[in-house]
Symmetry: C2
Subunit: 374 residues, 2 copies
């Protein structure tokens, strides 16, 4: 059941390995993957499959996936969740548990997450908890999920006080990114996904950042070759960081660039008001500005980041939640230690570090950056 | 922070190691442990503690534990849950998350589970999920929790359809069994705890079973020396099995002797009607009878088991839920594979195996054993 047995041999398909010892797996990236029954042959014979999806994705792709899965599973069940970050909560998660119980699923059932980041996080957390852990496969259908949330085994639901506060590390058996699914993605969600693609440049690979600058028009026009390259390079960077620090005890925290401020924006506005990627874009501008105030990076780099986000139509100013509210929300961040907020900051181009910052500096950056009009 | 640094040197204290590589820990068994500040010295300095307990245990022991913990933690918070298996559900678990959030706990907070099996399972599951995993310590105050549920890292809550269906494997950093806490245990709960003590004999150590037969009066009279011996030997057997199979992929399933039928009894009657140990006692009689019908063990051994359970005042007949209801509840058991029920059965004295059994045999055993009058 190793990832090698995914049996993909077509030229246009790219495989990015995530090296985690016994928990290793492949990220498979390409076109027309969804209904390729060869992809699912590794599943143990005779077992059942539970597809977790949402009401937006199901009409588009569920029937095709179901047909492909039936070639290797005795039963294929599915459960449709309501769409949106505001449903990433316990009552919705419980729908998955109810479906698993009603379908008499067992420890050998595989859960397939068909959808964006919310579906992936919830299906993964359900897989982590159902009978204390069953296998699952990520089939991300949004850009954000393909380049970030489906890789690395972070699963969670939100608590009213904070994003992803309740969750588990539980690695998938495979991640299958069918780029064709991006063709149905609303423009706003595509743009939000590019926030996470752009993120990898400043923290890990400034050349990639420059490649995005040069190719942003092709990317926004959804040109297949450009998308393949962007998804693949993003997954490679994420896979490398996760392989070095699976449970976020160190270097993995750099992936949270923009997320400390971003999570505060999401929680402060109410989950679902801004898309996650939009909040991360606003958060990256704040974090980069704070980095520049600490003289860790030059102003020109910050301006280039702001300009690229603007070309994607992403927010480059944070909403005016009030400085105290930001600070109190950020103290709940999972990186915080004994109530001290820790930020992922840029330390030169293509390099990030995680550290604290003086409260007054964070306040100053927040006060300057927040939109007066919101 | 290794278990060796628990700094226990008093003669009357016994240490049973649970060997799980980087996740190894000690089970510390003795008297007057609860307020022994030396036990908690290993906690990282300056961090916070959250004691999870229930409304029955809190008035008895919380103040003492809190005082001891304050010697090594900057803040000691606590949350009291309602008492009883019927509260082992999501809304109650959420009280723990709310308390953690309100107290601004972080990834370095340690959760202390002070109470019986329900508190331990819920506090452990909260520790597994809060911020994707924080440390926790088990301080079991019931016999059942000291000899079974606090050891081995199984954590869970119940789903309306089945016991412990939602949970995680998450090992504690230490298990501290203060035998003095058994002095306040109601008689019914003490007896229920002996069901799990007795369990270890038929599945793993027939000599221990005979030792219990000889010492049952001293045990029921709560004689300290006998209790220490019973708790220690039970923990040794459990630790050995868990070390060989942490995630229940094989041999660990033998610990479920009596539990396949037992969980069906608990779910069928409604959680909390019979205590867990009582249901396990009824379940062990059914499983032993089924073993004898399959000629895996002699009738005399079954009779000795029934007789010992009876001397403990435990049920030796299962409630009449109806055979179909039993079978349908047991198909939800976590050991089931593709809807086939798998039983932990006795294969000679001191030896257990996990296997299927013909439905008609299970039906026959259930029909004969169920009380006509309930």
């Amino acid at each position: 059941m190793s990832s090698a047995s995914l049996q993909v041999s077509r030229d246009e398909v790219q495989c990015v390995p995530v090296e985690l010892g016994a928990r290793s797996y492949d990220i498979v990236i390409g076109h027309r993957l969804l209904d390729d029954a060869r992809l699912w042959r590794w599943s143990p014979r005779g077992t059942s499959a539970m597809v977790v999806t949402n009401s937006t994705v199901a009409p588009l792709y569920l029937a095709r996936l179901r047909r492909a899965l039936l070639a290797s599973h005795r039963h294929v069940f599915s459960v449709e969740l309501p769409d949106g970050e505001q449903h990433k909560d316990w009552p919705t998660l419980n729908c998955v548990f109810d479906a698993l119980v009603q379908s008499q699923c067992d420890r050998e059932t595989t859960i397939y997450a068909l959808g964006g980041g919310v579906v992936g996080d919830m299906a993964g957390f359900a897989a982590a908890c159902f009978m204390r852990g069953v296998h699952y496969v990520q089939i991300p259908t949004t850009l954000l999920a393909q380049v970030d949330s489906s890789v690395g085994g972070k699963t969670a639901i939100n608590h009213p006080s904070g994003k992803n506060l309740i969750g588990a590390f539980h690695q998938p058996r495979a991640v299958v990114c069918d780029l064709d699914t991006l063709s149905t993605l609303p423009d706003r969600e595509l743009r939000a996904g590019f926030a996470e693609v752009i993120k990898y440049g400043p923290i890990a690979d400034w050349q990639f950042f420059e490649w995005i600058e040069q190719n942003i028009d092709a990317l926004l026009a959804r040109e297949p070759g450009a998308l393949l390259q962007a998804v693949k390079r993003s997954c490679e960077i994420k896979a490398e960081v996760v392989a070095r620090d699976e449970r976020e005890g160190g270097v993995r925290e750099i992936l949270n660039f923009g997320h400390t401020f971003g999570h505060a924006i999401e929680a402060g506005l109410g989950f679902g008001t801004w898309l996650h990627g939009e909040a991360v874009a606003g958060g990256m501008v704040l974090a980069a500005t704070l980095s520049a105030r600490l003289r860790m990076i030059d102003e020109a780099s910050v301006e280039r980041l702001v300009s690229l986000l603007a070309r994607c139509g992403l927010p480059t100013r944070a909403p005016a939640l009030g400085t105290d509210r930001y600070l109190s929300l950020m103290r709940l961040d999972k990186k915080a230690r004994d109530r001290e907020i820790r930020f992922t900051l840029l330390d030169g181009r293509g390099r990030a570090v995680v550290r604290g910052a003086p409260d007054e500096l964070a306040r100053e950056v927040l006060e300057r950056a927040c939109r007066a009009d919101s």
